[in-house]
Amino acid sequence: MLTESNSMKPGDELLVGFKFTLNPGWHTYWENPGDAGEGASIKWNLPNDVKASEILWPGPERIPVEPLMTFGYEDEVVLLTKIYTSETTTIPVTLNAQVSWYTCKEICIPQEAEVSIPINLGNKTSSTSKDLLEQVLDQVPEQFNGTYRVQKLDDSYVLQGELENIDQYDSMYFFPKYYGLTNYSENQLYEINKDSFSLQIKASEIEIENKSFEGVVALNKNEEITFIEIDYPLVTNDTSQEFNILTLIVFAFLGGLILNVMPCVFPILSIKILRFVEQSRDSTYKTLQQGLLFSLGVIISFLTIAALLIALKSGGESIGWGYQLQSPVVVSLLFYLFVVLGFIFMSNIVLGSGLARLSSISLNKSDSLESFLTGVLAVIVASPCTAPFMGSAIGFALLQPSFYSILIFLGLGIGFSLPYLILSAKPSLLSFLPKPGQWMETFKQFMAFPMWASALWLLWVLSNQVNNQEVIQVLLGALLITTGLWLIEKNNSERDWVRWLMRLPFLLLFIFSLWLIPTSYSDLDESKQDQIAYTPQLLEDLRKENSLVFLNFTADWCITCKVNEAVALKTSKVRKLISDKNITYIEADWTRKDPIISSTLEQYGRTGLPLYLLFPSKGDPLILPEILTEDILLSYLTEVQ
């Protein structure tokens, strides 16, 4: 037994090590010995107020025992332990340990030893072994600080990660920490690029449910080896059974239905429905055709989104629902769209395109195309309005094999278009409405307000992505577009060329307003910087201190998150309990793109928001419901230990 110092004071921490010197050809084992064998074990005999850590195992090497594979050490190994004392510990103290281990060649010999070392009272002074112990401490694998993820594909696990200059290493190998995770003797395939790598490891044939993909990756550079620790929670079969595919499709369907009454979608659909209701109060071939075309537009749009998301995902992008709103360009464009739609509802403008014809309350020949385009438009305007049901369904959909993702999006599309389809097939369902007349025009104008309300909200999202000046630029853009639209509306000339000419200023104003759109994030406001921002390192540090941690994954564009924060998270009772129980509150803000947050979300099987994690002082975090009330939250916070 070696110690870094022969003396210490109460409250000090002492690094001790057990050095094993092995004859050539002999080996001893790592904590997971592989196919056979057993790692060393240390049984401490210490006073009550002195504690010893678990063994800090240095990275192992592969020791094949044909046809089996074992993991261990040859020549020499030092197993480290940290000894913790408290302020009340009486020193001098004797550190006594019983150590048992195996040394094996073809055969194994069990060995046992009892060792004692006295520690005197005094300042820590470097012993002759200190250098060696610290050198060994460097070989103990450290938590990997890049981003990585693990996916199971058929009979293999694929570990993909990013680390700067990873290409300085020639090869890599994964040592699993537990039995039943990977196959020990099969070779592992790896690919190392400049800043990224992927490693494919055959899964164990034995199916034992492992909660996490935990182990050590050895990175080899010539003779030198660097070890990093990997621990990636695996989505167990249990959760996918809870959320079986049918349930998800039903959820997606319900989510689609709910979207119909969201403030961004309802005005467009209601006005469109009123139009053909006015036209005919009875089911006709024509109205049914309109309904079917609309549904087709909706479903094709959803499938296009699904295909796009799947393509992005397989391209390695981390994506989730609401992802699109992380781009200031998309937010600005949607803002313009909502402002324009509100303007169109308010006025009597006719632009001649399917989109603008929304304002005219009469059916005509180009209606077929228009119905289809209305479907597409409805999906576009729906995209910022995430109903709570859709967050989990779409988030989960994206983690599924592509075929299931498509089914889920199909369910969403059907749910979304069904009310419209039913009404088009049976307009008499709306016969309770008064006879068509002036009230319909009033209704249409009124519907401009929910549109503008949505626009206002988008602007608020934007204001958290870019600075004030750029927000004003976008507002100016909206002013220019509406001015252009007004010019067109006022242009009643009989002559075609005059009408076309008058559209020119609109076009110019429109192009100019596009040019005003900010394309990149600007610095955060100071108010945002006050909060404790999430980093994996921070969380790990807090977990080491056994602190209670509440981790809130949020984004300004996530309405559910904001509602939860208003009604539950930021109420005075909850805040008081959080500070009374000394819970560290951390926000992971996903308003902007952030690969670290994306990969953390994925670790918990999510690609969307919200996600609330409550870490007890020890063990796995609790995942809180997506819809929080003050009572639910208080009960969780009260119970957590």
Binding site: A36, G37, L68, E106, I107, E112, S171, L189
Partner: protein, 201 residues
């Protein structure tokens, strides 16, 4: 695409190994016991069978016999009319390889009570069952379906030398009891622990 490696090595070395899924049919083998009789697994259809991979030189096995842990498991099996087959897959010249006479001596001196001790010097049966350690245990039911595979008990992992085997949870005893009660085996697969089986390298 630099450093792209495709490994085909070792694959051929592994082909003879086969993991047997739970509840699937335990593959048949025929081996010679220490009295020169041909013994095949099939002939025990209608009875439960326990397979024990063993190697008397292995300290893990030695500890299980010294503490009578293995013998008491064998006695339970015997009293429940379960056939106990001890299989030695050590290749000639490796640890644990024994002649018939030596094997029978071991059985007597250790007061063991297997139905048969089978010699598998080619490792054929061991590889058929993916036996990796000594001891490595398998329980097969009356229909010839595999119901348990893994360690004899939960004393494995670090601290084996300290843990009293009498206090450990014996998986094989539990599996036999549960099968007798018509229940499912609650821990059908566990991590085997011990020395490596000494196959011909």
């Amino acid at each position: 695409m630099k450093n792209f490696l495709l490994a085909i090595l070792f694959i051929f070395a592994q082909t003879s190994f086969a993991f047997i899924a739970m509840d699937s049919e335990a593959p048949n083998f025929e081996l010679t016991d220490t009295y020169g009789n041909k013994v095949s697994l099939e002939s025990f259809k209608g009875k439960k069978v326990v397979l024990e991979w063993t190697n008397h030189g292995c300290p893990f096995v030695a500890k299980h016999y010294k503490t009578k842990n293995m013998q008491s498991t064998q006695e339970l099996a015997k009293s429940e009319d379960v056939v106990w087959l001890s299989i030695i897959s050590s290749a000639p010249g490796t640890q644990g390889y024994v002649t018939n006479e030596e094997a029978n001596n071991l059985t007597t001196t250790r007061e063991a009570s297997p139905a048969h001790v089978l010699l598998d010097p080619t490792g054929k049966a061991g590889m058929l069952y993916n036996a990796k350690t000594t001891p490595h245990m398998y329980v097969i039911n009356e229909e010839g379906l595999l119901k348990y595979q893994g360690a004899i008990d939960d004393a494995g992992g670090r601290g084996f030398m300290f843990k009293d085997l009498q206090e450990a949870n014996n998986y094989v005893k539990k599996a036999i009891k549960e099968l007798n009660q018509g229940k499912r085996v609650s821990d059908p697969i566990t991590k085997p622990y011990g020395c490596s089986v000494k196959y011909a390298g």
